[in-house]
Amino acid sequence: MKLNLKMVFIIMLWVVPFSLITGQTEKPARDKYTLLTMAYNQRPLTLYKGQLQANAGYRLGVRTKSFDGTGSKISLKENGAASVFHTYIMEIKYGITDFLELGADAYYLRNGIRSETSSLLSGGGTITTNSLNEYRGFGDITVAAAVRVPMEYKMWDFSLKGAVTLPVAEYQPSQPTHILTDYQSPNNYTVNYHFNNNNGYGVPLYTLSAVGKFTLSKVSVEARGSYRFPAKEGESIRWGWTLFGSTFTYYNNPYSYLPDRSLSINGSIHYQAAGWFDIFLGGYYLKTSSGWTEYFESKFANPEVTLVTIEPGFELQISPSLTIYQYAGLQLTGENTDAPFYVLTTISFNMFPFWK
């Protein structure tokens, strides 16, 4: 017993100094510069308390392929319907605490979809038809709140987010602006159909998301699931027209609709190559369901969309306040949807406005 006590005493003499050394580890600095330059693999899922982040993004999308209902790829170039879309994204977020973040985002989208030019050739002449579906304008504003686990981020993190998309943008299509050109006779002219669509949903939408992040040294894995659903049915209009001579007369008819519910799952693996450079490979799965549109006083289900996309990209810190994100989207498989290749570039401005 006496020997055991002596041994315990010797062990204690060894252990206590080590525990003192361990206890002396310095708490990470919490100055503005350190927080603003925090690498992705060391960052929590939400902003730090007092941090303001403003993001401006531009997405160039090239819509040259689509997937039909059986998942077969269709070349829109060969169908004469390829198009390009430009999306300008604005987002602002603020960290209320280290565990609660508020934010809002909106976008402006421009896209013109042409159809194959077709001509009707008869003995009396040729009537050629061009058709352009233009989408232009602001999308709805989304306001969101995100909370994360109330503990310091070391290896893992978990966050929940709720968002409401407010129907503030124009959603009913504007009056078409069809024109006749090359008019030579009632049987010989070109008609150019031009439909003017807006980008709003017309009804509120709710989104619930959950995000998890796990980091092991320079490698991080992030997974996100989101479910979006409409608050109620909406009502919009369809434009019709009649042509007398070379003058179009327009009229519209109301119809009701219900936007799709959508489930999206994102996964990404990140490698922090340097403190200022993170490269990642993301995957994105989208499925929509339950939406419908009224035609001829009957409700018809919207085609259910599935889409799988991979998104390679990087995050580059160019100054304590400015970070650039860029990733490309490549569609692998899908059903009933377009498959646009896109590149999204975002410049992110960060600051602590109330922190001296």
Partner: protein, 192 residues
């Protein structure tokens, strides 16, 4: 008093002399220069190799009224290029640059004509592709006004285009015409 002034004047001249010593730039400093801080030509002996990617889509045009409008006809055109660029500073003011561009361009147009009397549709597809090595070019740049001395530079350049790309169209296929029966697309959706 005069002697003191003379001593001070000599000391001041020495100070000015120190102030005028030029900072010696070592290779490490040169690599730290950015587009903003570096002069308009490379320093002597400095070599730079780079790549540049370009991608453009022809989607709109300017009308005679100076308005930007979508093309009305069904058409699709993209220009993409990948450049390999090599630059070398022969002197601090004189630079030579060589570029090897690869190009991938496409023009595509689709249309169809329905002839009711024959109850047929004729589909036209026109595609013009160009891909491969384009004309390489050699650029000589000289700083006429040297940025080092005046904080402003004026640079003259001379481009020499070397006709390395294929000039005339090849592999011309005949116009593809398909004669099909007219069909109307009907969208069938399940009723809810």
């Amino acid at each position: 008093m005069k002697r003191i002034i003379n001593i001070l004047a000599i000391m001041l001249m020495t100070l000015i002399g120190f102030g005028q010593t030029e900072k010696q730039l070592v290779p490490g400093d040169l690599k730290q220069l950015t587009v903003v801080t570096e002069p308009s030509t490379l320093y002597k002996g400095f070599f730079r190799a780079g790549t540049a990617l370009s991608y453009g889509i022809v989607d709109k045009y300017f009308t005679n009224d100076r308005k930007k409008e979508y093309f009305l006809n069904s058409a699709w055109a993209t220009n993409s290029g990948f450049n390999f660029i090599f630059q070398y500073g022969i002197t601090d003011r004189f630079q030579i640059e060589a570029a090897v561009p690869l190009s991938f361009n496409i023009r595509q147009s689709e249309s169809r004509i329905y002839v009711p009397s024959a109850d047929t549709t004729v589909e036209y597809s026109f595609t013009l592709k160009s891909q491969g090595l384009s004309d390489c070019y050699l650029t000589l740049k000289y700083q006429i006004l040297n940025e080092k001395t005046s904080n402003t530079s004026l640079t003259g350049s001379l481009d020499v285009i070397i006709p390395t790309g294929t000039k005339n169209p090849t592999n011309i296929n005949g116009e593809r015409i398909m004669i099909l029966r007219w069909a109307t697309d009907v969208l069938l959706l399940p009723e809810v």
